[in-house]
């Protein structure tokens, strides 16, 4: 097993711990939204995408259609499209193998595996995602079984976990002035689009800010 896989596991552990709490709150939300415990757990195991799962559950439990929920989940996940495009040149093998390797992309792992020069350390990516996958499933099991006993999880401030998680990742990326300009531009684009575009689109559109990197 490559050394970079082990490094990835080590780097992924704190995010895995945070993901556990987050997926626990997903389990609770899904139960309150009419999912069975099994359905909540299976969703985390086969979808493994926090923002998409929260979006889909929120919509169906609010009386929205399956189609609307799937559309919202796709938009929430649309950021994985540019992430996958960026990762692609660093993946060896045939199309099927690359498609499978691409499944390991989650925000924290992808950002940490980026070397900043357009290449990615794929074994580190796999390593960081492995513990996050395990705790994502485990947290959902706990949350789904506790179910509605917990009441409103906002009381515990769990809705602040997701953004705090991204803040920690973002700050690690802000090494030079250009990265800070790009982050600022991304934030401005996303915020400007929030009132007029469906959830997910503002994040996808923010990837345009990366074009600033061409000046390097």
């Amino acid at each position: 097993m490559p050394e970079s896989f082990r490094r990835g596991v080590r780097l992924g552990l704190p995010y895995a711990a945070a993901g556990f709490v987050l997926s626990l709150s997903f389990g609770v939300l899904a139960r309150q939204g009419g999912f069975s415990a099994l359905q909540a757990i299976v969703m985390s195991v086969v979808v493994f995408a926090g923002s998409a799962q929260f979006a889909a559950v929120t919509i169906v439990s609010g009386g929205g259609s399956v189609l609307a929920a799937v559309a919202a989940a796709s938009l929430a996940n649309s950021r994985f499209l540019p992430m996958g495009i960026g990762l692609a040149p660093s993946l060896p093998g045939g199309p099927l193998s690359r498609a499978l390797q691409g499944q390991t992309v989650v925000d924290a792992s992808w950002a940490m595996a980026s070397r900043g020069d357009g290449t990615f350390d794929r074994w580190q990516l796999f390593g960081s995602t492995a513990p996050q996958y395990v705790t994502w499933a485990a947290g959902t099991v706990v949350g789904a079984l506790l179910g509605s006993d917990l009441g409103d999880t906002d009381r515990f401030g769990l809705d602040a976990l997701f953004p705090a998680f991204f803040v920690a990742l973002l700050i690690a990326e802000l090494q030079d002035r250009q990265a800070r300009s790009i982050a600022l531009a991304g934030a401005v684009i996303a915020l400007a689009l929030v009132p007029i575009a469906p959830a997910g689109v503002p994040i996808l559109a923010a990837s345009v800010a990366a074009l600033i990197g061409m000046r390097r």
């Binding site: 969703m43 990762l87 900043g116 906002d154 602040a160 705090a164 990837s207």
Partner: protein
């Protein structure tokens, strides 16, 4: 039944989105300018994730207890705190403000 359908469809679209880039563009050298843009994507996407999760609720700009919690967490992260401490602070401050 509709929930199982929802789960299946969400799984399929998520896999397809994650597979699209690697299938279309894998295993080849790309021009240096393209690589520079890719290398700059992490700060852009992460900043967008931060502001949309901390400052927006659905399609509205909304500032609440969670925004304050995330701001405190941001300062801690800036000063080099471990990510576990960062997320615990965010949740703790948010829960504390809501309990007031």
């Amino acid at each position: 039944m509709t929930i199982w359908l929802l789960i299946g469809l969400c799984a399929v679209v998520t896999m397809a989105i994650k597979a699209a880039g690697p299938i279309a563009l894998g295993g080849r050298e790309l021009p240096p300018r393209f690589s520079a843009v890719i290398g700059s994507m992490a700060p852009a996407l992460l900043a967008a994730l931060v502001v949309t999760t901390a400052l927006a609720s659905g399609e509205r700009i909304a500032v609440g207890a969670d925004t304050a919690g995330v701001a405190v967490a941001g300062v801690a992260a800036w000063r080099g705190a471990n990510v576990i401490l960062v997320v615990l602070l965010a949740a703790g401050v948010t829960a504390g403000l809501r309990a007031l």
